[in-house]
């Protein structure tokens, strides 16, 4: 298991693809390629539900990438572990999403100590939102910078600011 994992969460459907698209961009990034698969793993994860915990097993630092419902379409958001782990209002096998998986993972002490989510708000367009290429590249760039920062000093991710960072890009 690698120390650092970037996990693009999504599906083949419209806006839900953006987590995968960012992973594809990162795979083309020479700086990311230089890190090699032993230090960094990149995953395209298809609606994992609770299986998300399988991807987090043994990882020291994890960066999740996903579309975020609501907000301003195209805006970049960065959420820390403390902001991600909340009590889910409901839980079913058909509807276990990222929040539910992380709440269960926290309860079972399965989460990496360093965990952030980089997302893009999709506004009111919902699943029909099509992210602009420039927004995707900015999101991929922010993640690449965080990966580089983390690789320089693993505690950097842990010590990142705890507030939501939002960059309005569209």
């Amino acid at each position: 298991m690698t120390a650092l994992s970037v996990i693009g969460i999504g599906s083949p459907h419209a806006a839900d693809q953006l987590g995968w698209q960012v992973i594809d961009m990162l795979r083309q990034n020479p700086a990311i390629q230089d890190l090699g698969s032993t230090r960094l793993s990149l995953h395209r994860c298809d609606r994992p539900g609770l299986s998300l915990l399988e991807y987090l097993k043994g990882v020291e630092c994890a960066i999740l990438v996903d579309a975020v419902e609501g907000g301003t379409a195209g805006r970049h958001v960065r959420l820390t572990r403390e902001q991600l782990v909340v009590d889910p209002a409901r839980l079913s096998s058909h509807a276990a999403g990222v929040a539910e998986a992380l709440a269960l993972g926290d309860s079972l002490q399965l989460l990496p100590s360093r965990l952030v989510l980089h997302g893009m708000e999709i506004g009111s367009a919902g699943i029909d939102f099509i992210p602009a290429e420039t927004n995707l590249r900015q999101l991929a760039g922010a993640i690449a910078a965080e990966v580089a920062h983390c690789c320089q000093e693993p505690d950097n991710l842990k010590n990142a600011p705890g507030t939501v960072t939002k960059t309005n890009t569209q």
């Binding site: 096998s93 509807a95 269960l104 079972l108």
Partner: protein, 432 residues
């Protein structure tokens, strides 16, 4: 104790069941006057959607009916269509389809046992609360579920709505190295599944004996998944194409899902029915584990469905190990297909019970008509019967909240998928 008179309870959102449904209950004195399991999911019209489509589209379309048991829909469909085409894809494909079904049973059963059912029996509101008290057991369950998903990803291309299944075989064959790596993990995890079986059997489950008819597939020499004759605990033994001679789908005013009867009576499909009818088809060593677990099968206690699922997790783990240990890369992962006109039937064992399909195709292999009978709709009438018996035995004098909780436990025990046919549970109790 509740006051007499009319009372209405509404619970707007309830967790741990799938789809939109409700339970209406009218109690008069010490008896249930009316009990209706209401399913108000809108019709999804998949059967009409298939009409006019080429046979090649069918496995991918029917997989979308359910995110938890897509393999079941694909398997019933490909078997029915291959029957029309008089096509036998050979032993390699047969084993790979069985391997995919093992993955689906493991992930679906592990999810239901830990996420939906166990909180009821261990006094927790949800799996997160359960995880605080039983962390090792929940971790074990998640690991097993994860293995099932990984098996689906390896053979099916992805765990949700797999894409490799096609008429005539699979579009892709895993490499021996990929299989070997997963085989090693399955061997390591088999004792976990066996421990799950022993643990579920040791739990203090409600002791309620009921009369019901079990229905499942039965195969001459293996535990049924993709093939077999339809049998029942009441003596039915028919080929799958005779299904409509004995089973009847009918509409009730309170449900958008059709209910089913066998010779006019409700019946049970699913893990407990399968175990009740196929215990002797389990491998000898697993039969010994079942005999030692403290529960006698066939069982008339519906709550033993929990242990039946755990038995099937052990079985599917062992079966997957057997198939993966013998795995060889084929020259081709599929055989050539020549379409023909005709009517074909497929019936396979989804995690929740028998899933029956029939298709009428034209000479080009285009779908002219399709009928799909999912397991949850087949269990609806049985669930209503169970609720009448179980709530009466539990005590109708109890509070509305107690009745609601017990009713939910009874319903969840069936692992109903209302999206395949029901999110519970709004309950309305009228007392007269």
């Amino acid at each position: 104790m509740t006051d007499s008179g009319d009372r209405t309870i509404r619970v707007p959102v309830l967790a741990r069941v799938e789809g939109e449904g409700a339970l209406d209950l009218i109690i008069r004195g010490d008896r249930i006057e009316q009990l209706q399991l209401r399913i108000f999911e809108p019709p999804r019209l998949f059967e009409k959607l298939l009409e006019g489509r080429p046979y090649t589209d069918v496995p991918d379309i029917v997989a979308r009916i359910c995110g938890i048991c897509p393999v079941a829909y694909q398997m019933s469909a490909v078997h029915a269509i291959e029957q029309v085409f008089q096509l036998n894809p050979g032993p390699w494909v047969r084993e790979m389809r069985r391997l995919m079904y093992c993955g689906e049973w493991i992930e679906s059963h592990a999810l239901h046992v830990h996420l939906l059912a166990l909180p009821d029996f261990l006094g927790a509101d949800n799996v997160i609360e359960l995880a605080e008290r039983y962390p090792d057991e929940v971790r074990r369950g998640l690991h097993l579920q994860g293995l099932g998903n990984r098996l689906l990803r390896l053979v099916g291309g992805r765990s949700v709505h797999p894409v490799s299944t096609c008429i005539g075989g699979l579009s892709h064959a895993p490499t021996p190295a990929e299989i070997a790596a997963l085989l090693d993990e399955f061997r390591q995890a088999l004792p976990m599944a066996e421990a799950l079986l022993a643990w579920t059997a040791s739990l203090d489950l409600p002791d309620e004996q009921q009369d019901f008819t079990s229905v499942a597939l039965r195969h001459p020499d293996e535990y049924p998944m993709n093939e077999g004759r339809l049998v029942s605990s009441a003596g039915l033994d028919i080929p799958i194409q005779a299904y409509q001679d004995h089973f009847r789908e009918y509409q009730v005013p309170h449900s958008t899902a059709l209910q089913s009867s066998l010779d006019g009576q409700p019946y049970l499909v699913g893990p407990l029915a399968r175990i009740n009818l196929n215990l002797d088809r389990l491998p000898q060593d697993l039969q010994q584990q079942v005999a030692a677990c403290g529960i006698t099968f066939p069982s008339r206690n519906m709550f033993h469905s929990l242990t039946a699922r755990a038995i099937e997790v052990v079985y599917a783990m062992g079966e997957a190990i057997r198939i993966m240990a013998a795995y060889q890369l084929p020259d081709s992962s599929r055989v050539d297909v020549t379409p023909r006109a005709g009517i074909g039937f497929g019936c396979t064992e989804a995690p929740r019970g028998i899933l029956w399909h029939t298709y009428e195709l034209d000479a080009d292999g285009q779908v002219q008509a399709a009928t799909i009978v999912p397991p949850t709709s087949q269990n609806q009438a049985r669930i209503e019967d169970d609720l009448r018996n179980s709530l009466t035995a539990y005590g109708l004098h109890r509070s509305d909240d107690e009745l609601r909780k017990h009713g939910e436990t009874v319903i969840r025990n069936y692992d109903p998928c209302i999206s395949c046919s029901t999110h519970f549970l709004k309950i309305k109790v009228g007392r007269e």
